[in-house]
Amino acid sequence: MNKEIVIVGLNHRTAPVEVRERVAFDNSLLGETLQCLRALPSVQEGAVLSTCNRVEVVAATSDREAAFEEIKKFLLEQESGSGESNLEDHLYAYAGDQAVRHLFRVAASLDSMVVGEPQILGQLKDYYVAAQEVGSVGTVLHRLFHRSFSVAKRVRTETGIASRAVSVSSVAVELAKRIFDRLEDKTVMLIGAGKIGNLVARHLQRSGVSSLMVTNRTFERAVEVAAQFRGNPIRFEEFPRYLKLADLVVGCAGAPETLLRPETVEETLRERKQKAMFFIDLGDRRNFDPLINEIDNVYLYDIDDLQAVARENLHGRTGEVRKAEEIVDEEVAGFLRWLDSLDQVPTIVALRQRLEEIRQSEIEKSLRTSLKGLSEKERQAIEDMTAAMISKILHAPISRLKRPLEEREEALYVEALKRLFGLEEK
């Protein structure tokens, strides 16, 4: 009967972007999706999380295996369109402490593509709120999500992890300053609308870059982003023509194919009389051909390179991830202790014990004082009567707790009982 957490999903490590896109939840149908999830027989509480880097289902269940099966099927039903790869090959499934640890790590941005990036926590909160509105989360997931938020907060305040995400963009700026004398007279071209790309572009702009071009497969999006940066939107088909104007090219498009080949860059360089170019590839699939780095006066860094530089330059920060993982471990243990305590059997036992204690001590007190001198028979009658009272009082709540139909609320009641009767301290 004991509940546990299960997580089934895929992320940037297990699935390429086109697979992630295929299962990404439609946010306008989120309510229905959550209802469907909760309707699964094995799922007592459920929530989803769907960002560009991950699609995950979090559930509380009493039957791990059945939940795995049903949630996998549920995800497969979400799949829109099909590709060469089998979705199931990209899925992971965690249960128990592993699932709790996973969610805590996600919240703390330890599982992010750019470790320490702050957006994930906000997204997690949004999906939690949505699940709360639909009522698909109960005591266990409430507690789980709230704990994950506080884990994220602890990791952010107690470790230097958060500054690492910033450092990817500041490393990009630092490198740009190693190549270019001043950024004020330089032009940036931003390809794609990925978040990290935006972050880097913003950082570059703050460091003095005045001119910015934005291009995106959907022109409206380019216009939107360009407005944000007070830059110029460019049609995607035309961006190679404008390339010669760009000193820095930031690629953050979720494109499966390479956007720039060495030949294009060589041609561009001839057009700009060999003036140096700095390519920053932040796409989760490479936007730029790595061979571009071989061209004279051209420098190409991808996100891994930037992170490597960031790592090597952050002295004393190497231990930060470990410190964060320790915080997560600590919190996982704490949550599991709480979850264990939610089990109804020990709670019922504890409740009975508590009432029995009260009964015993009250009888004893009365028999010593006001009921002094009662006969053995009368004493027995009082014993029986009080025991029966306790038993009657407990009958409804205990049978409710035990009724399988109401299983989803079990944790809620257990929690309530423990608080109302002060069973927790025991």
Binding site: R178, I179, F180, D181, Q274, N297, A308, N313
Partner: protein, 273 residues
Amino acid sequence: MDVALLKVTALLYLLGTGTFIIYVALLRDFFSRVSPLILLAGFLLHTAALGLHFFQAGYPAVTELREALSVYSWVMVGVYLFVQLKYRLTILGCFVAPLAFLMSLAGIAFGAGGGELPPGLKTYWLPLHVTLAFLGNAVFALAFAVSLMYLVQEYRLKSKRMTALYKPLPSLERLDRLNYIFLVWGFPLMTLGILTGSLWAGAYWGNYWSWEPRQISSAITWLLYGSLLQGRITAGWRGRKVAFLTIVGFVVVLGYFLWGDSVFPSRHAGRFE
């Protein structure tokens, strides 16, 4: 007297070398400000020593290699101080200071006294020719230094070995522009150096060009730097290629300056007949 001054000068250049190294290691502002000042003090003493020699002998101390080295280091430090004033490139001192120290050391290592100069050569052609040629060479030495820095910085960026983002090395763009500036200054100076030498030779020996080894090596470097400058201005050469060629050019100059004269006896090596 001038030897004593030269010794103090060398000591100051050594001290400057030390503070420049500390600057690179610690990146403290204090050392970036004090190091050029130490070099300036050395430069002033050096000026006094060379001036003393000039007034005593009536011609600059350039008749022997060791003397020439000393004068060369003086010119180089002077050019560096000017560049530092104008472009604030403290790290260049890390290259100039040790070189100046070693060269000025050579200047005092073998004691006083220089080669005897035939009276007919004691004209103003000598200081003019030597100053221009040395100025050109000193500017090329700095071009060499910034090109070396360029290659180091470029290699680190390309190979992604930016372990310590390494503050003191200037940006590639800046180094490349300084290379251009030094070429633009160095090339006319070198041209004038060769011209004055040729005119002087024409006035003294009667022929302007005698295919001396030194003349040939100068002509080669002149062509090299000339085409480099030409490539930069018209063909848009820049970056690694230019840096590499600048280094090659300077190695030829330096190599000949140091060893050429001992291999090929010539008028530049004290054979004035």
